[in-house]
Structure formats: C-alpha cells, structure tokens
C-alpha cells in the first residue's frame, strides 16, 4: 500500500516536473519566422516577440500565450486572415495586427474556447476579430479600425457567430460596418466599449441573453440595433449624435423582453424606435435634445415607457403604429412640455399628458411635410391646435412626473464669449441710439 502511494507520488511529481519543463518562454526576433516558432512550441508555452515587423499570416493551433513587446507588428500582407486561432486557451496580447485580405479578418477564431485577445491594435482589416463558435472568448481593451471606404464595403469590428458567454470589454472600435455584430451569439457581455463611425455600433441578430452596459456609442448611423432577439439588458450607455436621417439611437425590431434603462440618449435624429418590440421595459433614461424622441411602428405589445426624462426634444413622439404605453400604471415620465400642476403633491401631474400632433398626421399623408419641420407656420398651427383640438391622442401618459427623475451632470459652462458677444452688440446699439438722437 505504501509502495503504491510512493509510486503514485513519483508519477505525480514526475508529471509536475515535466510539465514545468514544458511551459517554456521563447523570445522571438522579427527576422525569425513566427510560424516556425509556433510550430516548434508546445501547449502552454509563451512566445515573447521582440520589437519589429513580422511578415505573413500565422496560424495558432496550440494553447500558446503570444505576447508582444511594445512596437510589435504582425503584417498579413493583405492575404487571408492575419492571425487564425483554432486551439482553445490561447492568449494574444500587446501586438499590432494589420493587413488582412479583401474579405478576411485581423484575428479569426474557429471553434476555440477561452481565448483571450487583449490590448491589441487591429487596423487596415476587413473584419477586426471574427469569432466562429466557441465559448467564453474574452476580447478586452483592443483598438479596432477598419478601412477608409464606404461602410457597405467594410467588415464588422467584432463579429461573434454562434458563440456563448463571450465578453467584449473596453474596446475602441471605429470605421467599420457594424462595431459589434452578434449573430446567434448567446449571453454576451458588452461593457465600456467606445464605438464611432460605424453603420450600427452594436447589432444583435438572434442573439438572446446578454448585457450591454456603460458603452459609448457616438456618431454612427444607428447606435443599438436589436433584431429578433430576446432578453437583453441595455443599461447606462451613452448614445449620442446618431444624426443620419436613416439612423436611430436605439432600434428594437421584432424582439422580446429588452430592458433599456438608465441610458443617456442625446442629440440623435431619432432616439428610440420601437417596431414590434414586445414586453420591453424602457425606464429611467434621459432622452434629450433629439429631433424625435420616440418613434413607433406596428404593435409594441406589453412594452412600457416610464420614469424617463424627456428634455428639449424637438418632437417628442412620432407614432405610426398602435398607441404606446407611456406609464407603467403607477408612474409615467417627465416631459418638459407638460403644462399642468400637481396640486395634491404626490409628484404626479393632475392631468394626463396627451400626445397628439398635427405634424404627425400631416406627415403620414404627405411625407414632404418633413421639410417644414418646426417651421414658423407649422409650429404656430400646432400650438393653436393644441388649445382647441378634439383630435384623438396618439399616446397618453396618465401619470406624468412633475420633476425630472434624472439629472444630467453638467460642468460649469458659463462662457465669457457670450458675455463679450452680448456686450459688443449692446454697446453698439446704444451708441447708435445716442448718435441717431443727437444728430443735427
């Protein structure tokens, strides 16, 4: 029995030692072939790349840890995918990857799980990172930028296809077609990414379950595009300046149980569009200074919009589908256009906020009326109509809040330029008055 344990201990120790002996770190110089170094290495080894340019695409089929010194570039020379990973437990970090083929990726992951792609620069590529199947892929703190062509000719920054539990965190993505495209990618966590100049910043297709938090989506055609997807939480994101006429801050299309809460939707052409969005919760967002705050098409069954703050939007709603629920039965939203009082002091206005718009009705009949958006004549007519109209409301907030549930943090913005402008004009006009009166 004792002998048995001794043998076992020896085997175990032997294994341990041999494993130690295996996990080596190799240094690689730019004049060596990176692919040959990979071929020589064994599972668990670390390849440390010295500064310089490594030409040619590589294929990682072992569980290696690839680390670059500052200034390491892997150049795919515009042929195929630059880095192809087909093994699990690979980590690649601190390198610049550039020059994929016409329709290929900077990094392609195929059936590889627990891969970590961290702190890389990926540029001049069609796709940034293309993940095809695999679990728990972690894409962290990468900079991805596509080619400078029209977005219809670009690939996606991060493309997740049939993955589960991936994590996309802290990436900066610009100049791509879709920033992050989730195609049948389940339970993905997307946090603190910064996406600009893309078609859709984040695009869900059949990608159920997942969290989208604290991302910054600015100047894309559309910020968040959620299609045919269930159970996504979209929380605390900043969605700004999606100003294209075709674009939306957030578009929820044919989807179920999407939660959009505590986001800031600021200065978009249309902040939020609901088109067959079922059982969604739109709550506690700041929806401010958009051309149109809420747009709807079709029937949005069971969706409630409550406790949001609507501030300074040019048009609050453009409702082209069934009426929307602008309260959850207890609380509504804060509208800065609401003009009634709260005499019983319960924080809820004493009369419902009715949304009716002559402009909406005209627009449905003649789309060209859009040209006269907020023009003096239409604005005047709309104001007049709001006093007298008997027109049916397009939506109704039965419990409008009288104070904003959301306060936008603003820094001190008092500007002396404004003071200078004002005083110059005032001085000028007063001097002119004086001069004119004293004349002759």
């Amino acid at each position: 029995m004792i002998r048995f344990f001794v043998v076992l201990a020896m085997i175990y120790f032997g294994l341990f030692v041999s494993h130690e002996a295996y996990a080596k770190t190799y240094e690689i110089m730019p004049n060596e072939s990176l692919q040959q170094a990979i071929d020589r290495a064994n599972d668990g080894d670390t390849l440390f790349m010295k500064k310089g340019i490594y030409k040619g695409a590589i294929h990682l089929d072992k569980s290696l840890h690839l680390v670059g010194e500052k200034g390491v570039i892997i150049d795919g020379e515009k042929k195929g995918n630059v880095v192809t990973i087909t093994a699990s437990n690979v980590t690649i970090e601190n390198v610049t990857i550039r020059g994929s083929g016409g329709k290929e990726a900077g990094i392609l992951l195929q059936n590889a799980s627990q891969v970590v792609v961290r702190n890389n620069r990926i540029e001049d590529v069609h796709y940034g990172v293309y993940v095809e199947k695999g679990e728990q892929t972690r894409l962290i703190d990468n900079h991805i930028s596509g080619r400078n062509v029209h977005f219809s000719k670009r690939g996606n920054g991060i493309h997740l296809f049939r993955t589960t539990k991936s994590e996309v965190n802290g990436n900066t993505i610009t100049n791509v077609q879709d920033g992050i495209y989730l195609d049948w990618a389940k339970k993905t966590t997307i946090t603190k990414n910064h996406i600009t100049s893309s078609r859709y910043a984040i695009h869900f297709m059949y990608a159920d379950g997942g969290e989208v938090t604290e991302n910054d989506l600015t100047e894309n055609i559309t910020g968040l595009m959620v299609m045919a997807t269930k159970n996504i939480n979209i929380i605390k994101n900043t969605i700004e300046k999606q100003l294209d006429y075709r674009g939306y801050g957030v578009l929820i299309y044919d989807s179920d149980a999407i939660v959009v809460s505590d986001n800031e939707l600021f200065y978009n052409s249309t902040a939020l569009s609901l088109q067959n969005a079922r059982n969604c919760v739109i709550q506690g967002n700041l929806i401010s200074a958009n051309h149109t705050a809420v747009h709807s098409l079709y029937e949005n069954k069971g969706t409630t919009i409550s406790e949001n703050a609507f501030l300074g939007n040019v048009t609050e709603t453009k409702i082209q589908g069934a009426p929307l629920h602008f309260d959850n039965g207890i609380k509504g939203n804060y509208w800065d256009t609401y003009r009634f009082y709260d005499l019983n002091g319960d924080g809820i206005g004493d009369s419902p906020h009715k949304i009716r718009s002559l402009y909406n009705r005209l627009l449905r009949q003649w789309p060209s009326v859009q040209f006269y958006f907020q023009s003096p004549a239409l604005a005047l007519l709309e104001t007049t109509e709001s006093f007298f109209t008997q027109a049916p409301a397009l939506g109704e907030d039965r419990f409008p809040l009288v104070s904003s549930p959301y306060v936008r943090q603003t820094e001190e913005k008092r500007s002396w330029g404004l003071f200078a402008f004002g005083s110059i004009l005032l001085t000028f006009s007063l001097w002119m008055f004086q001069y004119g009166r004293r004349m002759r």
Binding site: L243, D244, Y245, R246, Y267, S269, S288, A289, H291, L311, G312, N313, V314, L362, Q365, W366, P367, S368, V369, Q370, F371, Y372, F373, Q374, S375, P376, A377, L378, A379, L380, R408, T410, E412, K413, R414, S415, G417, L418, F419, F421, G422, S423, I424, L425, L426, T427, F428, S429, L430, M432, F433, G436, R437, M439, R440
Partner: protein, 269 residues
C-alpha cells in the same frame, strides 16, 4: 445720398414704435433662451427652433410695417416730394433711405440679441455659434424685407393702404406659403418634389433664411430622406454661396423696382 440716409436714420431711431419693438424682441428672446438654458450645443434643438421662429415671425412683420409706413407717411405728408426736390439722383435717394432705415433696424436687432445674450450669460448659459449665425441671418432677413417694404411704401398711396398690403404680404410669406406649397406638392408627380422645393425656397425670403440657418448648422437631416442629396449640397460651401446670392437678389430687385416707381412718379409730376 448721405443726407437722405441721415434723415431716414434720424427719423426712424427717434420713433417710439421701433424702440418698443426692440424692447419686446429682447424680452421674448431672453425668455426663450432663458427657459431652455440647459442645452448648450451647436445643433438644431427646440430652443434653437424657437429662437429661429421668433426671428422669422417678428422680423418680417416689423420690418415691413416700419419701412412701408415711414415711406407712405412721407408721401402722404408731402415730405417725400420735398426730398425729391433735393439735387440728388433717385437712385441715391433710394439708397440713402434704405441704408438709413437699415441702420436703425440693425440697432434694434443688436439690442435684442445683445440683451438676450447677457441674460443667458447671467443665468449661466454657454456660447453657441448659433447666436452669431442667427444674428447675422436675422439682420439679412431684415435687409430683404426692408427692400420689399420700401417698394410697398412707394407703391401705396397712404398709410392705411401700406399697413394692409404689408400685413397681407407678411401673412402670405410667413403663414400661408408653406401650406400653399404642400397643397401643390400633393397634386404634382413625385419627380417634381425637389425642383418645387428648390423654387419655393428661392421665391420666399423667409423660407430662404430658415433653410439657410438649418443647413449652415449642418442639421439638414431633419428635412428627411427625400431631400437627402439636396441637403448635402445645401450644406456645402457652394450651396451656402447660392443662398447668399439669392438673398442679395432679394435685396436688390425690390430696390430697383422702387427706383423705377419714383422715376415714373417724377415724370408724371
């Protein structure tokens, strides 16, 4: 020309009418910018739209009324006949009267914008390039309608007629014009939409300034998908120059007609 200019300037700036308008404009502008002081960014938002609409509604009205009333009043009281005895050409007379009135209006508009800016500054607002743009275009709008008002003033025979014609023209340009265009648009084939819009902008200075302001702020996307290509062009340098050119034409043509009217009047007399 200088005499005529000085005369007109003196007469207008001493008018209580114009001063009370200046104060009213200042108060309204201050209320508008003050009540929406929480947005400071350079794009087209509700506060911007409101300020723009204030200018588009009030400036043509006041300019038309003051300009035409002064001239028709001069005519009615016989002072214009007196001016015509001066040894100056009719062109210099028209130019002088125009510049004199324009300076008075500029004074009032400066007062309004200056006052509103100071109010916004006091409540802690930020600078937006919209103020400058809006000021510039408002002055231009006043310049255009002043030219039209001079023509009206010379065409009509007394003050009452001048008021009537001014109000009618104001209502047409500011209130009815858009519905009129929408009415036509609903009847014509689709291909005509763009040329018709382009024509409608050229034919109405209020539209011109409205579209110009919005495109100069690069917010043309609010015009919608149908006019996307046109908006791109309008926002470009070329487009902006064309706007300026059309504005100049709008100032010059009524003055030429006014000059023609005076000359004809001279021959008749």
């Amino acid at each position: 020309m200088k005499t005529a200019m000085k005369y007109q300037w003196m007469m207008m700036i001493r008018s209580k009418w114009l001063i009370s308008f200046g104060v009213l404009f200042t108060i309204l502008a201050a209320i508008l910018v003050g009540s929406s002081g929480n947005e400071s960014f350079s794009g087209f938002a509700r506060s911007t739209a409101a300020l723009l609409n204030l200018s588009l509604l009030l400036i043509p009205l006041v300019t038309l009324l003051t300009g035409s009333l002064f001239l028709s009043g001069e005519k009615e009281d016989g002072r214009l006949a007196l001016l015509l005895t001066y040894p100056i050409s009719t062109r210099a007379l028209i130019g002088g009267l125009y510049i004199g009135s324009f300076l008075s209006l500029l004074t009032v508009i400066s007062f309004g914008y200056g006052g509103a800016s100071i109010v916004l500054f006091l409540i802690g607002g930020g600078w937006s390039s919209f103020f400058f743009l809006s000021f510039f275009l408002t002055v231009l709008l006043a310049g255009i309608f002043l030219a039209i008002s001079m023509f009206i003033g010379l065409y009509t025979s007394n003050r009452l007629q001048a008021i009537g014609v001014s109000l009618l023209i104001w209502a047409f340009f500011v209130l009815f014009y858009e519905f009129f265009i929408v009415g036509i648009l609903s009847m014509v084939p689709k291909g005509w939409v763009l040329p018709l819009f382009a024509l409608s902008i050229i034919m109405n200075p209020v539209e011109l300034v409205r579209v110009w302001t919005i495109t100069a702020m690069k917010s043309g996307t609010i015009f919608g998908p149908q006019l996307y290509e046109w908006t791109k062009w309008a926002e470009s340098m070329n487009g902006q120059f064309v706007f300026f050119g059309v504005a100049c034409i709008w100032m010059v043509i009524p003055l030429i007609f006014a000059n023609f009217l005076i000359k004809r009047g001279n021959r008749d007399a």
